[in-house]
Symmetry: C2
Subunit: 352 residues, 2 copies
């Protein structure tokens, strides 16, 4: 390797200093132009820009990061194994939204999986080294220590799907409560009266909100809520199957099912078919997520769509704002966390 002192002398990449010399101005002025400061005269700006173009100057990120104490990078942390990431359209939609929102920014996006213990270990190191200015957290379980860790390191973070009503991080969510109401009101409007609900995992806040929406929609329509019609699931197909069996055994007279996810609905559909119930003639079925599976089910599944791509966009907007007006944690603790809730949309198909 070349000797240390001679490293970037002539053949290497041009530096700020060289651009300054070329443009006949000082280092500070070039820096101001590069960073878009308004305190530069038009003539000077033009001269600097010409020098930049002539030399093909590109700022050295490491030097900038060191001097300015920022990295211009944010991480999308997925606390799941990679397999799930690729399997579920949720993540790719989210990534698309995030990517779009970031595309007119200098910010660089890092995708970090933290499914295994080992990966979590690496992530902890990574965050401790402050290698990103902010973190996007998706699909976090209620007892995950990650959010606390971020708070302690004072790294700005935005979470999709708050962990509880008392979420301390800035959060973006879809309107789980409203979405559930839409589903139930739709079923009521179709003349259904005995509407069951297969819930999601009860330790997921969004699942709780869907239950609330289900109950309130019934109540406000003047129906009593029969707890025999509510059966816990876990978002999985198998869970949907088991829940449906339990429901059919308890209330064979039910005429509609609202499932907390499309996959759950697919499991329920299977059991209903085996029991000889026709969909939607005997039992109407509504799912949640409007995932690919909803379109391909037989019959196509009515489902509640969450605007996932928009959520990704919103998360970036909030995170960038938080990174920009980063303040001492003290004053931060006094403000309530920012929240954003996006509307859902009922997509009607043949199953209801």
């Amino acid at each position: 390797m070349a000797s240390h002192g001679a490293r970037g002398r002539s053949g290497g990449r041009p530096t700020l200093e060289e651009v300054a010399a070329r443009a006949g101005v000082g280092r500070g002025t070039v820096s101001r132009v590069i960073n878009g400061s308004p305190r530069v005269s038009d003539a000077t700006r033009a001269a600097v820009e010409a020098a930049v173009a002539e030399l093909g100057y590109v700022p050295n990120t490491a030097a900038r990061a060191l001097a300015a104490n920022r990295t211009d990078a944010i991480a999308l942390v997925v606390p799941e194994p990679e397999t799930r990431f690729f399997a579920e359209p949720y993540f790719s939609d989210m990534l698309r939204g995030v990517g779009a929102a970031l595309s007119d920014t200098e910010m660089q996006l890092l995708l970090i999986f933290a499914g295994s213990d080992r990966e979590r270990q690496r992530l902890a190191q990574y965050l401790a080294a402050h290698r990103v200015d902010g973190v996007l957290l998706v699909s976090v379980h209620a007892d995950d220590p990650l959010p606390d860790m971020l708070a302690q390191l004072e790294i700005p973070a935005v979470i999709s799907g708050p962990r509880s009503a008392a979420e301390t991080l800035t959060s973006v969510d879809s309107d789980n409560y409203g979405g559930a109401r839409q589903a139930v009101e739709h079923l009521l409007g179709r003349g259904r009266r005995t509407i069951a609900h297969i819930t999601g995992r009860l330790d997921v806040y969004g699942a709780q909100r869907r239950i609330d929406g289900y109950r309130d929609a019934l109540r406000e329509a003047g129906h009593a809520v029969d707890e025999l019609l509510v059966e816990p699931g876990d978002f999985s197909e198998d869970g949907g199957r088991r829940a449906m069996e339990a429901l059919l055994a308890r209330r064979p007279d039910l005429d509609a099912v609202f499932a907390a996810s499309d996959v759950t609905a697919a499991g329920a559909r299977h059991v209903l078919r085996e029991a000889g119930r026709r969909i939607p003639d005997d039992v109407a079925l509504v799912g949640y997520d409007d995932s690919a599976i909803a379109r391909h089910l037989d019959p196509p599944l009515t489902s509640v769509r969450q605007p996932i791509e928009e959520m990704g966009r919103a998360m970036i907007d909030l995170l960038l704002a938080e990174v920009a007006d980063r303040r001492p944690a003290v004053s931060r603790e006094l403000e309530p966390p920012r929240r954003m809730v996006l509307a859902t949309e009922l997509v009607e198909r043949a199953s209801s």
Copy 2:
């Protein structure tokens, strides 16, 4: 914000200097310990490690990058839109292999999509800024300018699937030639004599090698190669359909088809069915890739498996080596590019 001078003074992250003071040694010694240099006595090493643990020291990446002129990051560049990345198992398998090979390294992996012009623009800037030490290139077309750009910037790179026999970059590939031979020899072994080949895109080197393998296998078994049995496809299902129609029209007596991809085979299967040919009774069918589609086809498709995960691992090994013994480009040009070819495996199923 706190004043510049006071920034990292007391509340902030510990620095090398502080660790050195704590351990009662010099800055250089701490640096040696951190970087695993052997030129440190055991006692000193222990003292430094204790200080590091007590202070919770984590090296500042930006400072290290600036001083050492490296980033400890490499990029996996995918010159495709994100959608394809998520749709094709090829990429997720590759990512798994790459991730595994990297997991006991300090290297950080960046995933960069360069499907649109805009994204390519960003990538160019990114590379010009030397923000990564090396690049992994997957799925590059023959006329892509990316490799030249990398060469000019003197950024180490490894390509999966060389663009031609004269590929100048270090490359990792599966044995397309051998894989095709396996497929054809298998069909010959099953007593088939009139074996057609639907090729891949002719501008893809791997597709050419599969054609070579097909021809040589037939020739060496003492059969003449009938060019009427070779029809160009493009790896797509539709291409497979069209090619199969052409082949059936020209040589209705064919008794086997070797397709250059599983998707192509699926298209061919469709046409064969419509023409009333039974698989494998009338026509045996073999695909390439051993993708999910092969398992789910009716009948399940015999296919040539490429060890994609291993290829990912191999790419990392080669790239890290290249990054490690980075030399002036001059001496580099004198050596031939390194190449690695991994064996394929025929997975036999009901279609042949």
